[in-house]
Each structure stands twice: as C-alpha cells, then as structure tokens.
C-alpha cells in the first residue's frame, strides 16, 4: 500500500525542503501559463523559468532525501508527502492570478531566492553549494525579468498600474514569512548549511525599495499577519494544487514513468 511517505523530522532536511518546495510549487503555478500568456515570448519565458525551478527542486530534493537517510528519491519527496510535510512559502501556492500578480510574485520570490542562493554558494554542504552555483545564475535572469515587467506595468497604462497595485496589496501580506526565522533556520546557520531567512530581510527590502522607486510604487505597510506554509500549515489553495500534482502517483501507485 503506497500511502504517503513518512518524513523524518530533521532540521537540515526541513531547511532544504523549504527551498525545494518553494521552487517546485512556484514552477507548478508558472506552468499554468503555458499557452495562455499575453504574448508568445512570455509563454516561453514563463515555461523556461518553470523548467529552471523544477531543476533546482530536483537537485535539492535529492540532497534532502540523502540527508534524510530513508532512501526517498526526488519523486517520492515531490509527490508522496502529505500536505503538512510540504514546507514552501505560502506566497508561491496562491493561485496564478493575472500577469501583474505573476510578475510581482516572481519579483518577491526571485529576489529572495537570489539572496539565498548567493549565500548557499558558501554552504558547508558542498552538494548544496554546487546546486546554488548553478541556481544563482538562473534566478538572476528570473529577477531581471520580473523587475522589467513590474517597472513596465507600473509605468504603462492606467489599467496596468491599477493591476500592479492590486497585486501588490494582495501579495505583500505574504512577505513576512520570507524572513521569519525559527529553530530550523538557526540550526542551518549554526551548522553552516545556510543563512537564516531573517538575514535576507534587510538586503531584500533594500532591493525592493530600489525597484519600487524606479516603478514609482509605494511600499505597503506591513500588517500583522504571517503566513505559515514553511511550517507546513498552508492556505486552502494548497490542497487543490497537490490533488492535481500528485494525482498520477496516487492513482497508479508504484508505477514506472
């Protein structure tokens, strides 16, 4: 009976899964644009990013499985966990939204991921450092793509500006989670695995401030809500996403693909 796999609770594993799941779930959302983007170049760009993100996720999931030591491969980790055992940022599981929401979310996540990957290049785990070395190049392009579009939409027409502002109002409230640190982060820092999320906060805010200044957008105030996806407590959207993503593995247990 191939039910969900049982994950060993280990801070290093959870630390890597947070990143691996964040890239995986964002890839899932970006893939939804395929064939539906505003121009063909964006169909290509967004599927290309999804492809990069899946690649990053595969490498990290494999490494997480090794550290976990139960023989779980990338696919068991990607497809056979219970929702509570996914540790992505809540922000990436929110529905695709319109193009403004998509590029704004990419701006937030790519900016965060670039800072993270840069630091992970110096990880004491050399496998992780190698993964980071490749990922950091990819995510720089993702970030630049997002910046270009956010500036363009903020500057473009009344409608595009209205939409980017609406996206901002929606997405901003999920950003505190990007910089929340807990025992998992502490462990990673002390073990030399990687930075605490809190360490990324200042440089991220500075970069966002620069983009927002260029785009003529006001940084929203930070509210009192902190989402909890990285602790395994997700939004209502996650269950639907997983039902779809996991379906074949669930319906054909033990299949060869």
């Amino acid at each position: 009976m191939t039910q969900s796999i049982e994950l060993r609770r280990d801070p290093a594993v959870q630390y890597l899964l947070r990143i691996a799941d964040t890239t995986l779930i964002l890839a899932q959302r970006l893939g939804e644009w395929c064939g539906h983007a505003p121009i063909l170049e964006e169909d290509i760009a967004l599927t290309n990013m999804a492809l990069d993100l899946v690649g990053q996720s595969r490498a990290l999931l494999t490494r997480a499985g090794e550290l976990e030591g139960r023989g779980h491969d990338e696919d068991q980790l990607a497809f056979l966990r219970d929702e509570r055992d996914y540790f992505n940022l809540t922000l990436v599981e929110l529905p695709r939204g319109d193009f403004a929401f998509t590029v704004l979310r990419n701006l937030f996540v790519a900016g965060w991921a670039r800072l993270l990957w840069e630091r992970l290049c110096d990880s004491g785990d050399i496998e992780v450092a190698a993964i980071a070395g490749k990922a950091v190049k990819e995510v720089r392009y993702h970030q630049q793509h997002a910046i270009d579009w956010v500036v363009r939409l903020a500057d473009g027409t009344d409608e595009s500006r209205h939409r980017i502002e609406a996206a901002l109002a929606q997405a901003w409230r999920y950003t505190p989670e990007l910089f929340e640190s807990d025992a998992v982060d502490e462990h990673a820092r002390q073990a030399g695995l990687g930075p605490r999320r809190a360490d990324l906060r200042e440089p991220w805010l500075a970069e966002m401030a620069a983009v927002f200044a260029e785009a003529g957008l006001a940084l929203p105030a930070t509210g009192g809500y902190t989402s909890t996806g990285s602790r395994g407590v997700h939004s209502e959207h996650m269950g639907y996403l997983l039902a779809e993503m996991q379906y074949l593995q669930r319906a054909y247990p033990g299949g060869a693909w």
Partner: protein
C-alpha cells in the same frame, strides 16, 4: 514577365528564393498560408500538452514536457518571423487565427486524456510532423527552409523522448499503465495518419506546391513511409495499432493499411472535432486577457523612447 521567367528558372535549377528576391504573388500567398498555419499549429499545440504539465507523474517527465512546450513556442517564433519576411506581421497572422480564417493542424482538436497521450503525441504526432517537415528543409523559400532545419532537429528529439516514455511504461509499468498506453495509441493512430492530408488524387493544391518546390514529396508517399516506420516501432513497444487490415505486402515492400475515414477528417477540419471550440477559445481568451499587458508594454516603450534620445 522577365521576373517571372527568372523566378521559374531559379526554381527549376533548385536554387533558393530569398526574402528580398522577386516572387509571384500566388507563391507568396501560398507560403504565407502554409508557414502561418504551421506557426499556429505550434502555439495551439502547446495547449493539449500544457494540459499535463501540472500533472506530470515525475519531475524528470515534468522537466522534459516543459522543455518541449518551450521548444514549440520557439518554433512558433521562428515561423512567425519567417512569415514576416514575406510582408505579413505576426499580429495580422494571429488576427486571422483568432477570427477563424487561418487554420492550424487539425490534430490538436483532439483532447489529451491521459499521461500516455504525452508520449503518444511525441511518438506519432511529432513523428508524422517530422515526416512532413523534413522535405520542407529543402523548400525553395530559404527563410522557411532554414527555420525548418532547426525545428526538425528539435522535433526528432521530442519524438525520441515520447517513444522512450511509452517504452518505460510498457516495459517497466503495471498492467494499468500498459492499458493506458494502448488506449492512447488507439485514439491517436488514425488522426496521426490523417496528418499527411487527403490522398494524392484528392489533394488539389499539391501539384502547384510541388512545382514551386514548396512541397517535395506527395501525401500518400509520406503516409506510407510513416506507417512502415510506425508498425515496426509499435512491435518493439508491444502495442497493437488499431487497424485490423494492417499487413505486410511483400510485393510492394510496404505495409498495407485499412481505409481511412476521411469523413471524420473533414468533420474535424470543418470545426466539429472534440476540442475545436475550446482550442480557439483558449487562444482568443489568452490574447484578449493579455491585451492590457501588450498595451502597457507599448505605452512604456513610447515613454522610454524620448528619454533615451535625450540620454
């Protein structure tokens, strides 16, 4: 008339026509029609495959599928660019698609119902496309021929990946997975062999296209070549092709096949396939919902232009 004669000589000599060279209006129109139809097929073709990105069963397969649809988008780009060398803009071509004037390959009006459809499309649909397209690499219009060289290279890669995916399911999978593959092959076989178009004796435009070197090999000839290859591949795979009349003809040294239901072909071409409306509606909707993005990009570019002049 001088120009026409010169053009005919070049064609007869097997030389390539370049964008800047003179060409008869009918030759130009025929090419625009064919290239844009091919470009539209690439982007409409992203829909049935995009349908399974979110449900790909492994991360490796998800990555392969993402790379494939990305390639198809790229093919769309080259082909629209090739068509633009003939003086018709991408927006005009898309307008014709959205209004229903322009066609795309009728194969994409069939639904992708299981994961095995992804492999089967790679194997059979891309396989048929390659058979159709390889001769176009020697097409008389050079920009089209150049685009096709690159496209064909990528398509054969896709075909191999599709076949390999099916092979994995057939050889290492469960009975349910093998049944899934067989079911997909049953659904895609006949539409795939219809991709070569009507039989030669009912293909009115073919003669002129052959004469012009746009088309190089006849429909039936290509179809036979495809079937001969597919029968062998099916045997290796361990699937049955859904044509009880398929048998080796030692005299012709080809596989004979049963009669093709051309009424089905015409019906789907005329709009009554399972997904005609949904495919077109999805493209029209994407275009309409993306209008504000394109306008914003344009408005931004216009505002930037003077600034850059100053700088």
């Amino acid at each position: 008339a001088r120009l026409q004669q010169r053009f005919d000589e070049r064609i007869d000599a097997g030389e390539f026509i370049e964008a800047k060279g003179w060409m008869p209006e009918h030759y130009r129109r025929t090419l625009v029609r064919q290239i844009s139809q091919h470009a539209h097929s690439e982007i409409v073709g992203m829909l049935p495959e995009g349908n399974w990105i979110g449900r790909a069963p492994t991360l490796k397969r998800k990555a392969i599928l993402l790379a494939k649809v990305q390639d198809e988008g790229g093919h769309g780009l080259y082909l629209y660019a090739a068509a633009e060398t003939l003086g018709t803009s991408r927006d005009q071509l898309l307008e014709a698609l959205h209004s229903g004037q322009a066609k795309y390959s009728s194969i994409f009006n069939y639904p992708t119902l299981t994961w095995a459809d992804m492999g089967t499309i790679g194997w059979l649909v891309d396989g048929a496309a390659i058979m159709n397209q390889v001769p176009i690499c020697r097409c008389s219009y050079a920009p089209y021929a150049r685009a096709m060289v690159r496209i064909c290279r990528e398509e054969s890669f896709h075909q191999r990946q599709g076949y390999e995916a099916l092979l994995t399911m057939m050889q290492q999978g469960s009975d349910a997975q093998r049944a899934m593959v067989q079911d997909a092959v049953n659904r895609w076989w006949w539409p795939s062999i219809m991709m070569f178009g009507p039989p030669d004796d009912q293909s009115p435009n073919s003669a002129q296209s052959m004469r012009w070197g746009i088309k190089r090999v006849s429909n039936d000839e290509l179809r036979q070549k495809f079937i001969d290859a597919a029968v062998e591949q099916a045997q290796v795979l361990g699937v049955t092709l859904p044509d009880p009349a398929l048998r080796w003809n030692a005299e012709r040294e080809h596989w004979d096949h049963g009669p093709i239901d051309w009424s089905e072909f015409k019906r789907v071409l005329a709009g009554d396939g399972p997904c005609n409306r949904e495919r077109l509606a999805a493209r029209v909707q994407a275009w309409a919902e993306g209008a504000w993005v394109r306008e914003a990009a344009l408005a931004h570019a216009r505002k930037q232009a003077p600034k850059e002049e100053v700088a």
